[in-house]
Amino acid sequence: MRVVIAEDLALLRDGLERLLRDNGFEVVASVRDGDSLLREIAAHKPDIAVVDIRLPPDFRDEGLRAALEARKQSPDTAILVVSQYVEQAYARELLADGRGGVGYLLKDRILHVVEFVEAVRRVAGGGTALDPEVVAHLFSSQTAGGPLERLTPREQEVLALMAEGRSNSGIAESLVLTVGAVEKHIASIFSKLDLPHSGVDHRRVLAVLAYLQGQTETG
């Protein structure tokens, strides 16, 4: 799997490069700013770009802007945005085009190397990875008495992991359930929330996220 990294701090750039190489990725380019990122993506057509939000010259949200631009220019390259902080608005912007192959994680998640690598692979494969903090916020801003309260606590856990972008087997593993049990929970969630059932993982996630965000805005 071929990766481009955009990170301005040398310490983190080198660490990320080594971490991904050790886990079997091929790092084709490491850049320091948004313009170089767009250039390298166009040149190498990598499977995924791992992008820091804050990049030179202004150290604001250049990374995010470059990532959105890259998704328009090279739709085949997945984008994983990493940051020291998460903002709901940024998550919304990244998910706005309704396509998979996108992720938004706190840099803290890199500390869990196994899970982080799994997330990179998932996003590169067209899935999604949404930081648990974003998901937790989506849950906490639901109106009281809303449809989410019809779910059992276990179903809510499953829904949260699904929103993070985990696969059925990933959810099963982290909740110590069988895949069959997870599938049953998911079917029940979809019918309780009146969501159209869709087999493909990332479509399913986007439906869930669109649902949660819609609830937040009207609430």
Partner: protein, 547 residues
């Protein structure tokens, strides 16, 4: 209905009680003020002046605080004692600064007013009420008195005669209460004119226009006239001895005189638009003249003798002359400049204090949080290194602890950074940052923003923290359910307004809000808070945008 409200309502009795309190309180205020000023003037050239000068503002503020609390509780008029400076003052300012503080003088005029007029009113009302009750109860006791009830012009010694007194007494009661209502209204007006209208040192006094002032002056003159006539009637009925109504008359004339000269000065700039004069000096000369006339009246009413008002005349004259000379030799605009410099100095001092406290807090957070975690992290990794060879499982556990610690350190640093300057504010500006705040609040928050171009960064940041603090307070203390946030940029002024539907009672001097106030003042802005008990709470910040 109206009559019942005047005679028996709770309001009627609390107003009556307020007017009665003028009796005992008036005596106390008068003795305290006279003693304090005698000491102040008498000891002016000795070192004893220092403690007296330092104590005077506290004394005046203390007495006016009692008075304004009474007026708020019993008259339901929003008045407060002279406001204290927000910043620490130098020794000299504390010692003599109050002498130049208009609010302090007004408060003293109010206290004197309570002593002279308030005392007379209390005596008058008690007398009237006594007569009324005496009349109503006449049938029950006229026979017990030797020779009946004796008015100089009429003897009440039979039951029919006593019965006639009952309606007269009732009428007297009605008159007493009507008078009480009238005098309370008058008093409310006086209290509002002389005491502060808000405890908030930044709330500017709404300037009444000239027409309004004329109307108030006429109203006050009429009320004083009515009150004086009533007192004369009371004097005539009760004793017709010593003509005591002359005392309240003098006070009425003093108050009307000061207000009249002030109005005159405002309307006739031709008298003071010249070298060595200014509007406030002209007002000072007018008021001083009135005070001397008043004291002369007091001297005459007290039976003449040595003309002692010559001393205050001399003092006030010297003060006016000194100010005039100073004005004559100071370059034009100097006074405004001096005032501006004083404001800047004090707001800058506030901002520096505020910044200092903030830096200390950040240092402490770093020291107790992230730094300590990194030390623990290093220790875990060091121990894992030692154990790696003989106890790989133990080493794995230590490394896991280290990873958890690193995660916590990251989270703490992130929270700290957000508290200093939220990233989304720098990235996307005020509206986006406030919307993010609204998103994160458990309350129902609506955000209206009309900000065409971004204000300077310090202004944006201060505005952001006003909203953050207001939202936090609304969530924590006010039991609010809804919060409306309005942000508008009108020309060079950014206005941020936060209204919640909670129970009110926000403390404007509480840590968070007073810190923000200092921050905003340093940007030449104002922060105002209205939070009556029962709500709603309104917080409004106005700042020049600076870009």
């Amino acid at each position: 209905m109206e009559m019942k409200s005047i005679l028996f309502s709770k309001r009627a009795w609390s107003e009556f009680l307020f007017l009665l309190s003028g009796g005992p309180l008036g005596v106390i205020w008068f003795s305290v003020l006279v003693t304090a000023w005698s000491l102040f003037v008498g000891l002016a050239i000795t070192p004893f002046i220092i403690p007296i000068a330092l104590a005077m503002p506290y004394l005046i503020r203390g007495m006016s605080s009692v008075e304004s609390t009474l007026a708020r509780e019993l008259l339901h008029v929003n008045v407060y004692p002279p406001r204290t400076a927000i910043v620490k003052q130098s020794f000299w300012r504390r010692m003599f600064g109050w002498l130049g503080d208009v609010a302090m003088w007004k408060a003293q005029v109010y206290l004197v007013y309570r002593a002279v007029v308030g005392f007379a009113i209390a005596v008058g009302l008690v007398t009237l009420l006594g007569l009324a009750i005496g009349g109503i109860a006449a049938p029950f006791y006229y026979w017990a008195l030797n020779g009946g009830i004796d008015f100089s012009f009429w003897h009440v010694d039979t039951l029919p005669k006593a019965l006639v007194l009952v309606p007269a007494g009732a009428a007297g009661f009605v008159i007493t209460m009507l008078l009480s209502r009238l005098l309370s209204n008058l008093h409310r007006d006086v209290a509002q004119g002389l005491l502060e209208h808000s405890p908030d040192p930044l709330e500017p006094r709404p300037a009444p226009n000239l027409d309004e002032r004329h109307r108030m002056f006429a109203l006050r003159a009429t009320s004083f006239g009515v009150a004086f006539v009533v007192l004369v009637i009371v004097w005539a009925i009760s004793s017709t001895g010593y003509f005591w109504p002359v005392w309240p008359l003098l006070a009425f004339l003093l108050l009307l005189g000061i207000e009249g000269t002030n109005l005159f000065v405002i309307e006739h700039p031709e008298y003071w638009k010249r070298p060595g004069m200014s509007q406030s000096l002209a007002a000072q000369i007018g008021s001083s003249t009135m005070v001397v006339l008043f004291l002369t009246g007091v001297w005459a009413a007290a039976g003449g003798g040595t003309y002692w008002p010559v001393w205050p005349l001399l003092g006030l004259g010297i003060a006016c002359a000194a100010r005039s000379i100073a004005l004559y030799f100071s370059p034009p605009g100097q006074q405004e400049l001096t005032e501006r410099i004083e404001t800047l100095t004090s707001t800058r001092a506030g901002a520096v204090d505020q910044q200092e406290a903030e830096l200390r807090r950040i240092e402490r957070d770093l020291h107790d949080g992230a730094q300590a975690r990194l030390v623990a992290l290093g220790m875990s990794i060091g121990m894992a290194e030692q154990k790696l060879a003989e106890d790989p499982e133990g080493a794995r556990q230590l490394l896991e602890e280290a990873r958890t610690g690193a995660g916590q350190a990251l989270k703490e640093l992130r929270d700290l950074a957000r508290g200093i300057h939220p990233p989304v504010l720098a990235d996307r500006g005020l509206e986006a940052a406030v919307t993010a705040l609204a998103d994160n609040s458990p309350l129902r928050v609506t955000v209206h923003a009309d900000i065409t171009s971004r204000p300077a960064a310090p202004v944006e940041s201060a505005a952001y923290f006003v909203v953050a603090e207001a939202l936090a307070n609304a969530g924590k203390y006010s039991q609010a359910k809804r919060v409306d946030i309005r942000m508008t940029r009108d020309g060079d002024v950014l206005t941020v307004e936060v209204v919640d539907d909670g129970v009110g009672g926000a403390n404007a001097d509480g840590g968070g809000l007073s810190g923000l106030r200092r921050r905003i003042e340093a940007l030449d802005g104002t922060l105002r808070i209205a939070s009556p008990a029962g709500g709603p709470t309104l917080i409004r910040a106005e700042m020049p945008c600076g870009s």
